[in-house]
Symmetry: C2
Subunit: 68 residues, 2 copies
Amino acid sequence: MLFTHLGEAIKDRRKELNITQHHLAELSGISVNTLYKLERGQGNPSLEVLNKLAEVLGMELKLEVKKN
Amino acid sequence: MLFTHLGEAIKDRRKELNITQHHLAELSGISVNTLYKLERGQGNPSLEVLNKLAEVLGMELKLEVKKN
DNA sequence: GTGTAAATAACATTATAGTGTGATTTATGA
DNA sequence: TCATAAATCACACTATAATGTTATTTACAC
């Protein structure tokens, strides 16, 4: 529930690139289980996992001061 | 080494707001140890920890497609 | 509708993040 | 210089992320 947002961003990007969970997991060096849960907003992924996925997906993780 | 970037962003923001590690940890509901390691680029923080900190610091975590 | 691949799911095990405690070191202000 | 607070660090314990295996369900091409 908490991380649906990030999970969907990853899923959308994966679909965009037309690769399967299995394939993305393999390319990123993480397990399908971890990816599957992440995409569904379950679990609490580590920064390492997010970074690995971001790299393969051509994405970047940013931490910025919120603008009003 | 891996996560120096995020760690520094958090440390800088904390300094900006003039609060101590102890205080920020308390406000965020995480331990000082976890925060301390994160700021130093050690460890591998979970998304939950990053989100808790981001909220207190008035920041947001974004995952975006990299632009060239 | 049958066969195949992809996604969803449960579960036990292993690796490790997160915590609490206490000690040491580094600022910092009186 | 002395006292106090903040930051750094080690370490053992607990909670849980990540994995591997297997099974089930869903989607999709033929």
